[in-house]
């Protein structure tokens, strides 16, 4: 993929220069090659290929994700492993009481977000908190709390390498349509939609930043900027603030619908969480 001709109103803010990203690199983590390029699924209208955000990062940032010791996100997986076995709540249960080993949750991340038994669309954080409040009778964790980020990182890791594959039909369809509409809706004072950057201009530079497709297969992500793990909804919030819009709340129905649509745009890409980004 070459730096492409700039075609939208973003042009004034876009600069073709420095990015030392190696877009031809293969992501090999601990000997396993992850899928970072896949043919675009049929429901994604304006892309021919879907690309992991990893491809858009610099050599140094890319390298951090190829080794599970060098990846600073993994220490938070270690913390979640400790929590996994800790009894919490009135029911006297730990995660391990029902799920035994975390590996029993392999594949879960690929299907998130997912419609629950009551027909509501839930993100992984919602499922974790349902376990905590219903089964463990413990306090729910806040969306962006360290405990929640650690746990979603641990659960995501169990699916690492498996392709994203969310359901978008049946009871999920209306949520998916909602998310899709949001993706193409312009928000905020800068009057920009997700698509303006991540569909029309991926591969281009926005100031010194190399625009990716905005794929979410790597979440929760260890961002160098955050110096820690962050959720998908935190990134959405950041994007909305950048375009000077009033962001939706983390955990809101809006963000969860958008998450479903974005997850479906990444169908076929490997789960990478916890990935490393700039």
């Amino acid at each position: 993929m070459k730096i492409r001709t700039i075609t939208t109103a973003l042009a004034a803010a876009v600069l073709a220069s420095v990015a030392p990203a190696d877009e031809d690199a293969d992501l090999v983590v601990e000997g396993e090659t992850l899928i970072t390029r896949a043919p675009a699924p049929a429901h994604v209208e304006n892309l021919t290929e879907v690309l992991s955000g990893w491809l858009f990062r610099s050599d140094e940032t890319q390298a951090l994700q190829t080794d599970d010791f060098d990846n600073p996100g993994m220490i938070f997986v270690d913390q979640a492993l400790d929590t996994w076995d800790e009894v919490d709540g009135a029911a006297g249960k730990a995660c391990a009481s029902c799920h035994e080993d975390p590996s029993s949750l392999a594949g879960v991340r690929t299907t998130m977000p997912k419609v629950n038994e009551d027909g509501e669309l839930w993100a992984m954080e919602d499922y974790v908190n349902d376990c905590r409040t219903t089964r463990m009778e413990a306090e729910p964790w806040k969306w962006e709390s360290q405990d929640m980020l650690n746990m979603t990182a641990l659960v995501s890791l169990q699916s690492r390498g498996m392709p994203m594959n969310v359901a978008i039909d049946g009871p999920a369809q209306s949520y998916w349509e909602q998310g899709k509409e949001m993706y193409y809706t312009r928000y905020g004072q800068l009057d920009m939609a997700c698509a303006n950057c991540h569909e029309d201009n991926y591969g281009n530079m926005i100031r010194a930043d190399h625009l990716s497709q905005g794929q979410i297969n790597g979440f929760p992500v260890y961002r160098l900027k955050w110096a820690g793990l962050g959720s998908i909804h935190r990134r959405f919030k950041g994007c909305m603030e950048n375009i000077r819009a009033e962001p939706f709340k983390r955990g809101s129905d809006e963000f969860t619908a958008l998450e479903l649509y974005l997850a479906s745009r990444g169908e076929g890409l490997s789960v990478e969480g916890p990935s490393v980004r700039n």
Binding site: A12, V18, T61, A208, L224, E241, N242
Partner: protein, 140 residues
């Protein structure tokens, strides 16, 4: 995100240059003082020490660096453009398998990273590396 005046101006002008604002930069004197304290005033010569760092750091929060100085007893790292120049000092003990160490550092802006080695023979060596720190378009 708070919209600073600078950001507003940049956006308004559609400017894309990674302009840097010299805020809280360690004064040259402070850098020299830190080196002088480490060397006891002795001159540090070039050669015999290498520092590896990315030419361009995607985010200044986490910049991987590595230093090697065969025969060094200790190596001090300085970030000349940070509010405080001192970054870390590595002391190699009797069981050190080499005189190489790597870490990840913060760089407030584009700047020179300096490594000064105190050699086992009492001499001092230094090396510099320039790291460009980009200002991202999408802080998020």
């Amino acid at each position: 995100m708070t919209i600073t005046r600078r950001k507003t101006l940049l956006l308004g002008a559609g400017a894309a240059l990674a302009l840097s604002v010299p805020f809280g930069v360690a004064q040259a004197a402070t850098v020299d003082e830190a080196i002088a304290t480490f060397t006891g005033g002795a001159e540090a010569t070039e050669g015999g020490i290498s520092i590896s760092a990315p030419e361009i750091a995607e985010n200044g929060n986490t910049v991987p660096i590595s230093v090697t100085a065969e025969g060094a007893a200790s190596v001090m790292i300085l970030a000349t453009g940070n509010p405080n120049a001192e970054v870390a000092t590595f002391n190699f003990g009797p069981l050190a398998g080499s005189r190489t160490a790597s870490t990840r550092i913060r760089l407030a802006q584009t700047q020179e990273v300096v490594a000064v080695a105190k050699m086992e023979d009492g001499s001092f060596r230094r090396a510099n590396a320039t790291v460009k720190v980009t200002i991202g378009g999408c802080g998020g």
